[in-house]
Assembly symmetry: C2
Homo-oligomer: 215 residues x 2
Amino acid sequence: MKFYGYFRSSAAFRLRIAMNLKGLDYDFELINLQAGDQSGAAFKKINPQGRVPALDTGSDILVQSLAIIEYLDELHPEPALLPADALGKAKVRGISNIISCDIHPLNNLAVLNYLRDRLGADEAARTEWYQHWVKEGFEGVEAILSESPETGRFCYGDTPGLADICLVPQVFNAQRFDCPLDIYPTISRIFETCMEQPAFADAHPMKQPEAAELA
Amino acid sequence: MKFYGYFRSSAAFRLRIAMNLKGLDYDFELINLQAGDQSGAAFKKINPQGRVPALDTGSDILVQSLAIIEYLDELHPEPALLPADALGKAKVRGISNIISCDIHPLNNLAVLNYLRDRLGADEAARTEWYQHWVKEGFEGVEAILSESPETGRFCYGDTPGLADICLVPQVFNAQRFDCPLDIYPTISRIFETCMEQPAFADAHPMKQPEAAELA
């Protein structure tokens, strides 16, 4: 299978972690978001939405990181990225979606560029925007994680799963934008635990082949 | 079970459609987003993120509309809201997430209020913002739906599912913000087909008990 990605995309980072956890091999094609590759005709034929990641399974193109990860989890069930029971799945997907719906999309490159180019927001205003949505979302995630009996070494129990896969790239980007993170002790603890795992550490943006040239 | 919602919330609208499709009964508690109920201490105890919908199952509180809908789909499998095969699920979740991640969160009330109050965006600038993200997302959805052999009367085949549940509230809100929609013939056709179904029509914001007073 072929993975279309970019080292700094949080959504691509999620998919790298998931494929590493499952030990899956893949070909990689760089879609340089800074250069605008995602909006070019060639990539729009692959993913009409013009976003990464996209995954070519050989017969089909799949889009949207969480949809792709759930697909891989069904095809390659070990290690499982979701609990076996419906209630556990709902809790893990709930945390995942606070991040994937209510934090990340507000803070991606396309949005920050819109704020700058069309609303005249200067760097300070853009950073304030970024930090605001991280705070709104992480307050919810921290409260849920700190109160839930299911929280273990990871977001749900003692093995990494979908919620951790969403959490780590968001924390990584929050660090880049100087968001205060020590006010979220559970999130910070789980992030550190994840980064000790090779599947997470190897997926780090700066460890990707294009990082040396593009970072 | 108890459903915490608000008539104009797109995410609550999704959950109403899903519960209607499955014929589920529920108690309802209004969280008045215009009055700020979602940020009050009482509701934050229920959902620390301060968002609707939330679902109290009797033993647990679930958050995030898609996580809740997938939970209900597993507990009450008929009618199924996702295809049985992994590839079909990935395609339906992909369309769903274009809407639930990349359109809706950018255009919800909290974001529009931030643009107005903290970035000084006037009504014209806010409408332009709204229309921009609908266009970015719907171009992708329309291309996928118009090219996919699986598209039928609904987004995937001839029975309504998760992608339709996400599509309908987004079209409804796009209409409110005067987004051009006739340029998306497949989306428009599926929207019309959905609205002929009682499960969708009865979930319409203006048919909710609080609409008469609050609209």
